[in-house]
């Protein structure tokens, strides 16, 4: 995307620079129908199709090994609960298994927040009265930084959390009450 954008920018600026050195064809046909209509339509059609295709693929679909967790935002903390371990609630740390798709059901008890773990997925808002489901997946075990990405008042800058992705053994241990 960046390379394409750079090429288009270079083209436009080049055409402007050339205008200072020569008087060229001033026809509406070339400039408007060709450059103004046909060129962007082609580029945009390709880009849109690509975006929709990727967007479809990122949707949370049903699957056998999907893990479900709940995320509840408030000013200025997150609580996480787990379908596989009823009654367990962790504060500001979300535990997930690595290598398996995880559906995070996101909501809030006060104002709007947004759940965002940049290295695992895009962001999705926590909206009062609504539950939004985000599909995330960590390829490798490890710790990932997460943050709320919707302005929520004074404590917004520090409204962060952490995601710990466990390997299979670690995840079992967590569910059985090991690492909390």
């Amino acid at each position: 995307m960046l390379a394409g954008a750079g090429a288009i920018l270079a083209l436009v600026l080049g055409l402007i620079a050339l205008a200072f050195t020569r008087t060229g064809p001033g026809t509406e046909r070339v400039w408007i129908a060709g450059m103004g209509l046909a060129f962007p339509l082609t580029v945009l059609a390709a880009l849109l199709a690509y975006g929709l295709f990727v967007g479809e693929r990122l949707l949370p679909r049903q699957g056998a090994d999907v893990v479900s967790v709940q995320a509840e935002g408030r000013q200025w903390a997150w609580s996480f609960a787990y379908d596989d371990a009823p009654g367990v609630v962790t504060e500001d740390v979300l535990h997930i298994p690595a290598g398996r798709p995880v559906d995070v059901a996101i909501t809030t008890v006060d104002v709007i927040h947004s759940f965002w773990v940049p290295r695992l997925a895009g962001k999705l808002d926590a909206i009062p009265g609504h539950v939004n489901v985000l599909r995330i997946e960590a390829d490798q075990p490890g710790r990932y930084r997460g943050a709320s990405a919707e302005f929520s008042g004074e404590g917004y800058a520090d409204h962060e959390f952490e995601v710990i992705a466990h390997d299979a053994a670690g995840w079992d241990q967590f569910l059985r009450g090991g690492t909390r």
């Binding site: 001033g26 103004g36 849109l48 895009g122 909206i127 800058a157």
Partner: protein, 827 residues
């Protein structure tokens, strides 16, 4: 009459009062345009200082400069001021100053409304400044998302300043939009058909129509949120049947078109200035008009792209993603038409051209990052990071500030009558251009590294320190450049060589007058045969001054101009403008008291202020009357035209029509809100539906129909020379019945603070009552006019205006009663 004598006579008739007193009573568009521009650039400076404070805070990690509370006020006010108090008013000021001059007429359609709009802007802006000085400025972000801005999480007065102050300022935008629409369509030099209009007028027309359609959702949203904050009507509280997403829809329904409302006038400046800088004419005029119209409408299909992360289903996102990519096409058409114009002509690197080149480089980059964020998966990452901040500044600074600076330097000799003396502008341009790109290129990068928008500080370990420092240094370089521009502009009013007429060699009519322009613009109104009249006829300025056009002989101390039929530009009727008056400033002060009483919660005063506004409004229209038939008047060049009081479609009718279009959008947004809560809000259905009453529903509908029929009867009877009284009486009785049935709705609605459904019914009922009281007031006014002899078979113009408002009342009443009563009987 000799040329100099004509000039003196016209000068006497059109002059504003001398000195500072003249500012308060002037209704002249040249004065008011200048006042608008000076005020808006003052706010640009204030917003710029706030931007400097933001950059000072973010320059280093753990900055002790400002805490989170103050920082929230900085960025909220920076966005608010730049959007509402700088960008929109700059468009209004430029259009108010230029349009009559470009269109070959002597003033805008409603001179007093121009002044009223200016004072509403000045007073509303002052309100926000006061909040800032007192340290209680709005702090919820310029988008004001509830529940953060609701009564529970923001109990302070900060948010009220935003909701009430901005709504007050918005009055000026609505006034200007109505005025610009009517002026471009009707107030042109004869012969100027649609295809001969200067391109800036097309852009101004399209922008004005967008304001009429785009601002009402925001005004409605602000009213609803203030009702929630002040009286507990729970539109956005999920526990009581509201939904905070409703605010986001209403806000972005305004907010995205807003971006194009800002861009289109700037594009109009480029389309005007660029061909002159290239010594040629614009390539693809018709294509550009079509592209502007397309852009205006497509921009209304983008609002959800600000909500890509709110959990809307993928198909919904796909519609808006598709629309967001498509909107790049008409933009591309315009950009390539401009480049084609450059190829067609011989571009000269004069100062306005430098800023246009700055526009090209910056705006194209902003457009390209815009296409990136239109792609949903990319946006899921970039949303709410500094990448978006960078993108929007490329679009807004590139797409608005650079073109406006080009325009400022292009028209500066017109404003002042002088040419620049010191060559500061070139230095300033270099500083602004380098500073801007230094600031915001860096910001793209730090955004992709994960820096969120609106955080007040960050950690050294984040690794963003160096980039932020670069960004801040760039910001200060840019500010330095803008300060130099300011100094040069101020200097130009005092120092500089006298400007020869039309020094740029332009083809449009504003250069066919002496500079600085006389109050009356044109000594006589020319007949237009070409799109660039000065190219086709270089002798035109002399002919105008000699009185060879229309209305070349001043009559009765009248401020006269003439209107044309919208499409073909054939002369239609003669308008006599009101002269200098302080009514606008007084009326906007009383309007300000109304808003102030809401802000400081002195509610007993609110109805007093409203009554004051109504009384002043009646006085406003009363002074325009005539008690004798005039018949056709000589307009010059062998044409005789009727007086505006003696036509069916007077200026007031056109103004009412477009104001009602905006009003209908507001009503439509309210109905949309009702439907949205109905289908989406979790707390629905409500505990109980409103109880159906055949009497109230049937009575209200019958009253509405009777009122509309009564007005038709009155208009027809009056035109035939008969009495209008029977029709007016029927209309009045019908309106009273409507009022009763709507009052019953208000009384029988369960407590509005109990559930969003009740609150919605209450607002619908209140809207209906207001729109019944207005026509009732007008009917009372008409009755007084008829009995005092202001109305005759010829002087008929006022009846259809009231007729329009009665018709609107009828439609609103029937719809309100239907949506209130019918769900109660549905299975």
């Amino acid at each position: 009459m000799r040329t100099l004598e004509r000039h003196r006579r016209l000068q006497d008739i059109w002059a504003s009062e001398r000195g500072w007193k003249g500012w308060t009573s002037s209704v002249n568009h040249t004065d008011l345009g200048r006042m608008f521009l000076v005020t808006s650039f003052f706010f640009f400076a204030v917003g710029g200082v706030l931007a400097m404070l933001i950059r000072a805070q973010l320059a280093t990690p753990h900055s002790a400069f400002a805490g989170p509370e103050l920082y929230s006020q900085f960025f909220t006010m920076h966005g608010t001021i730049m959007m509402f108090l700088f960008a929109i008013p700059t468009f209004e000021g430029l259009a108010i100053y230029l349009l009559p001059k470009l269109l070959g007429t002597r003033d805008l359609a409603y001179p007093r409304l121009t002044a009223y709009g200016y004072w509403c802007y000045a007073f509303g802006g002052t309100m926000l400044l006061v909040s800032m000085v007192l340290g209680i400025a709005p702090n919820g972000g310029w988008f004001m998302y509830p529940p953060l801005t609701g009564p529970i999480h923001s109990p302070g007065i900060n948010t009220d300043f935003w909701l009430i102050g901005i709504t007050f300022v918005e009055i000026s935008a609505m006034a200007a939009a109505v005025e610009i629409t009517v002026s471009v369509l009707r107030y042109r030099a004869p012969g100027m058909s649609l295809d001969k209009m200067p391109i800036f007028a097309w852009y101004a027309l399209v922008t004005a129509i967008m304001i009429l359609l785009g601002f009402p959702p925001l005004i409605l949203g602000s009213v609803l949120l203030e009702l929630e904050r002040a009286f507990g009507l729970p539109f956005f509280q999920v526990e009581l049947g509201g939904d905070s997403l409703l605010w986001q829809h209403l806000f972005w329904l305004f907010g995205h078109p807003e971006v194009y409302i800002i861009f289109l006038p700037a594009a109009g400046v480029i389309s005007t200035v660029l061909p002159v800088m290239c010594r040629t004419t614009l390539l693809g005029y018709g294509w550009i008009v079509a592209a502007a119209v397309a852009l205006a409408f497509l921009s209304f299909g983008l609002w959800v792209h600000h909500m890509f992360t709110t959990g809307i289903p993928h198909m919904g996102l796909a519609f808006f993603s598709a629309a967001s990519t498509l909107v790049a096409v008409p933009t591309g058409v315009q950009v390539f038409a401009w480049i084609g114009t450059m190829w067609k002509g011989r571009p000269d690197l004069r100062l306005p051209m430098l800023h246009i080149l700055g526009f090209f480089a910056t705006f194209v980059m902003g457009g390209l990052t815009g296409v990136m964020v239109a792609v949903v998966p990319f946006d899921w990452q970039a949303h709410d990071t500094a990448f978006i901040t960078a993108h929007l500044h490329y679009v807004l600074f590139g797409g608005f500030v650079f073109p406006i600076l080009a325009g400022v330097y292009y028209w500066l000799p017109h404003f002042t009558g002088r040419q620049r003396f010191f060559r500061l502008g070139e230095v300033a341009f270099v500083l602004i251009f380098l500073g801007f790109h230094g600031t915001f290129l860096a910001m793209h990068w730090v955004g992709l590294l994960g820096q969120r928008r609106r955080i007040w500080t960050y950690e050294t370990s984040d690794g963003w320190t160096a980039i932020n420092l670069v960004s801040s240094v760039g910001g200060f370089i840019m500010a330095f450049g803008l300060a130099i521009v300011l100094i040069e502009v101020v200097l130009c009013f005092f120092v500089g060589r006298r400007m020869p007429r039309n020094a740029w060699g332009a083809g449009t009519l504003e250069w066919a007058m002496p500079t600085p322009p006389p109050n009356y613009n044109f000594a006589s109104v020319p007949h237009i045969r070409d799109r660039d009249p000065l190219y086709a006829n270089p002798g035109l300025p002399v002919q105008i001054a000699r009185g060879d056009g229309y209305l070349g002989t001043p009559r009765h101390d009248w401020r006269e101009t003439l209107t044309v039929e919208a499409a073909r530009g054939t002369p239609d009727y003669i308008v006599v403008y009101p002269a200098n008056t302080r009514l606008p400033i007084v009326m906007s002060a009383v309007t300000g008291l109304f808003f102030l009483s809401l802000l400081i919660k002195v509610y007993w005063f609110t109805p007093v202020a409203l009554a004051g506004v109504a009384v002043l409004a009646l006085r406003w229209v009363w002074v325009l009357g005539q008690r004798q038939d005039r018949g056709p008047l000589d307009a010059g060049l062998g044409v005789s035209l009727p007086h505006a009081a003696e036509v069916d479609r007077a200026p007031g009718w056109w103004g009412s029509l477009f104001l009602l279009v905006a009003d209908a959008v507001l009503f439509g947004s309210l109905i949309f809100g009702y439907a949205f809560l109905f289908t989406v809000a979790p707390g629905w259905p409500p505990p109980a539906w409103f109880e159906f009453s055949l009497l109230e529903l049937g009575g209200g509908v019958a009253g509405a129909l009777a009122a509309a029929a009564g007005m038709r009867l009155a208009i027809r009877a009056n035109r035939r020379g008969g009495s209008a009284w029977t029709g007016l009486a029927i209309a009045g009785a019908g309106a009273l019945v409507v009022l009763l049935s709507l009052a019953a709705l208000l009384v029988r609605t369960p407590p509005p603070s109990g559930h969003a459904y009740n609150a919605t019914l209450f607002v619908l009922g209140g809207y209906g009552v207001l729109h019944t009281l207005i026509p009732l007031l007008m009917l009372g006014f008409l009755a007084a006019r008829v009995s005092r002899g202001f109305v005759s078979a010829a002087r008929r113009a006022e009846l259809p205006i009231a007729g329009l408002w009665v018709d609107y009342m009828a439609v609103v009443a029937i719809l309100v009663l239907a949506v209130a009563h019918l769900p109660g009987v549905a299975p």
